[in-house]
Amino acid sequence: MTMTPGLRKFALTAHVTSSIGWFGAVAAFLALAISGLTSQDAQMVRAAYLAMELTTRFVIVPLALVSLLSGVVSSLGTTWGLFRYYWVLLKLLITIFATIILLVHTQPIDLLAGVAAKTAVFGADLRQMRILMVVASGAALVVLLVLTALSVYEPRGVTPYGWRKQHQQRKVSPVVDAET
C-alpha cells in the first residue's frame, strides 16, 4: 500500500509536528516538575502541579497518540514499511512503550493536581511521587531524543521480514529497477 504524495506529506507533517511538540511539552513538564519539587513558594508549587495536569491531559497525551498513529500511517504508506527496517521497528516499539508509560503516569499526576487544588501543604508521603515526576519526565526527554536521532540517522539494517520482502519484489520486478 503506497500513499499519494499529498497524503504522504500530510502524514509526515503530522508526525514531525506531533513528535517535536511532544518533546517540547515534556520539556515544559520537566520545568514545572522541578519547580513543584524545589520551590519554597507554596502558591508556585500548587500552580505547577495544576499546570502539569492540564499540560498532560490536553497536550502531552494527545501529541503522543497523534505521533504514534501518524508514524504508523507514514510507515505503512511508504516503502519503509513497519517491520522491514530495524530503526523503524525500534521506533515503533519505543513509542508504544513510552505512550503506555505516559498513560500509566497520568494517575500520580492527577493525584498531585487533586492535592494542589485543595491545599498548599504536600505531605511527606507525596515526596517520592513528586521526585518521580522529575525523574520520569527527564527519562522521557532522553527517550524522545533517541527517537528523533533514529529518524534522522536512519541506521542501516533490514529485518529478516524486510529481506524476504525485498527478494520477493526483486523476483517480480524488472532488472532496470535498480533503486531497490
Partner: protein, 47 residues
C-alpha cells in the same frame, strides 16, 4: 523493454546489525531497572 528475475535465492538472511544488539541490550537493562524500581517502591508509591 523489461526482463524478470528468476534466479533462485542463494544468499541467507543477513545477520542482525551490531547497533541493534547493543541498542536492544541497553533498552532491556533500562526497562528492567524501571520495573525493579517500581516494584521496590522507589518511585511509584500510591499508584
Amino acid at each position: 523493454m523489461s526482463q524478470t528475475h528468476e534466479k533462485p535465492d542463494r544468499r541467507s538472511t543477513p545477520s542482525t546489525p551490531r547497533w541493534v544488539i547493543v541498542f536492544g541490550i541497553i533498552a532491556l537493562v533500562l526497562a528492567l531497572l524501571f520495573v525493579i524500581s517500581h516494584f521496590a517502591g522507589v518511585g511509584m508509591s500510591g499508584h
